[in-house]
């Protein structure tokens, strides 16, 4: 029984924190954008605009939900949830702190130590695309449909490299469990052993979370809103939240795989973990503020002709080195 309570508390705390962080990332993004564009951004609601996400949330809740006339109503309501749930659930295997002792009980600061952690994350993040495609299809409108099509085509061009980019880390650590991978980085973060893998993962991660310069499914300048053109009110908020949850989750994964997860000197592990996530989030925003969107065929060519060969080469090189030096 206490085990169950501990698990439930962990789930509540981790997911609550994830959603809260995701909500505040919208504020941070607007502030970072403003910084780059020599503006202030939201700084009116509360101290430095810190209550802005709450105000936005309340505003979205009170907005009217508009459903297109010929939309598939069930899928239209269901699709945002399909994107949000995997984005949240993928976080379950990411360790966000060391083992701590609470009330004389040893508690691992991760929700589930799955021994195929990476596969679990990839499976779920692949699921997220279904939400985008289904939402686009259910809208029964041309812009969302185009966004959805792009999303599915984009998926096949980077997902392979995404998986392969982490394979080097898996080969070095010899485990698929994220806890084991963090344990393997006690001396040296894998970013020093897998610099190419890190860069590849960084690029694929941006494509996976549909962020600029790979935000083709959304592409507001061409497709109005892409897959979520027809969405309004809380349905739209769900998509929005899912995007930011995805970003946070993938930042957490990147931190776990390449920067040593929660490891770090002086500060408590959870703080280190949050700092690393924030660094990745800042990178996301900084990149979005800088780069123009890639053209559709450019992304496909980049995915197949650059990312995939590079990641395969990286895997081969890692394997050869491991075998040669018998590591």
């Amino acid at each position: 029984m206490p085990e169950l309570v501990i698990i439930l508390v962990k789930i509540l705390v981790a997911f609550g924190a994830l959603i809260l962080i995701a909500a505040y990332m919208t504020w941070m993004e607007r502030r970072v954008f403003a910084l780059v564009q020599v503006r202030y951004g939201p700084n009116r609601v509360g101290l430095a605009g810190l209550l802005q996400p709450i105000a936005d949330g309340i505003k979205l809740m009170f907005k009217e939900t508009i459903i297109p006339d010929r939309a598939d109503k069930f899928l239209f309501y269901f699709a945002p949830a399909i994107t949000l749930i995997p984005a949240l659930a993928a976080f379950a295997v990411v360790p966000f702190g060391d083992t701590v002792t609470i009330f004389g009980k040893k508690v691992d600061l991760l929700i589930a130590d799955v021994n195929v952690g990476i596969l679990y994350i990839f499976a779920l993040s692949g699921m997220g695309v279904y939400g985008v495609v289904l939402g686009a299809w259910a809208s029964n409108s041309k812009y969302p449909l185009l966004g959805g099509l792009r999303s599915s085509a984009q998926l096949i061009s980077y997902e392979l490299s995404l998986g392969l980019s982490l394979l080097g880390v898996v080969m070095i650590s010899g485990t698929l469990s994220l806890k084991g991978i963090v344990a393997g980085q006690a001396n040296l973060p894998y970013i020093f052993l897998q610099p190419v893998g890190f860069l590849l993962f960084l690029v694929c991660m941006i494509a996976e979370t549909n962020r600029a310069p790979f935000d083709l499914p959304e592409a507001e300048s061409e497709l109005t809103g892409g897959f979520h053109t027809e969405y309004s009110s809380m349905n739209f908020a769900t998509y929005f939240l899912a995007e930011y949850c995805n970003m946070v989750t993938f930042s957490a994964v990147a931190a776990t795989f390449f920067l040593g997860g929660w490891r770090g000197p002086i500060l408590p592990p959870v703080v280190w973990f949050l700092l690393k996530i924030l660094a990745f989030m800042f990178f996301f925003m900084w990149l979005r503020a800088t780069t123009p969107r890639l053209r559709y065929d450019q992304l496909m060519a980049f995915g197949w002709k650059v990312l995939l060969p590079l990641s395969i080469l990286n895997v081969i090189a890692t394997a050869v080195i491991i075998v040669m030096f018998d590591l």
Partner: protein, 159 residues
């Protein structure tokens, strides 16, 4: 391609260190430039008489017909203006006004001028019809912001 992205990111990070251009409006107010056309003002002479002689030229010049003037004969013993007549009613619909400044150009005695005030919000449309009492401000000497912009010669170009 990577070098271009890095170059671009260097540019954006440099920008983020600049001082920001935004004026935090309600707290910080920018000085309006000389020549800014804001809320109308009706001027007086230095001796306290109204400049406006009720000629309705401003009303005629107004491209959107937002000025309404009714004039009356001055009482010779106790004149309101220096001319034969004065404006008994002088109304400007500030919602309709496009702040083109033609009224001020048309005015032969330099009575109606555009000031540099731009904050006049109300919660009711009717409150935007400014009457003589709302517009009369005093003589040139008493309104320093106008003194910087208008010389007496410019105001009295037709007299």
């Amino acid at each position: 391609m990577l070098s271009e992205v890095i170059q671009g990111m260097w540019v954006t990070i440099k920008h983020s260190l600049r001082s920001r251009e935004t004026v935090q409006y309600p707290e910080v107010k920018e000085e309006m430039p000389v020549g800014y056309r804001g809320l109308h003002k009706l001027l007086l002479w230095e001796d306290g008489l109204e400049r406006c002689v009720g000629c309705k030229l401003c009303s005629a010049a107004c491209p959107v017909d937002c000025i309404y003037v009714e004039s009356a004969e001055n009482d010779p013993g106790n004149p309101t203006s220096k001319g034969e007549r004065y404006a008994s009613i002088y109304e400007i619909n500030e919602l309709r006004c496009i702040f083109c400044g033609y009224c001020e150009e048309a005015c032969p005695v330099g009575a109606v001028v555009l000031g540099n005030q731009y904050e006049f919000c109300e919660d009711d449309r009717d409150k935007f019809i400014y009457e003589k009492g709302d517009l009369l401000v005093g003589s040139m000497e008493e309104v320093p912001e106008l003194k910087a912009r208008y010389s007496e010669q410019k105001l009295l170009k037709y007299v």
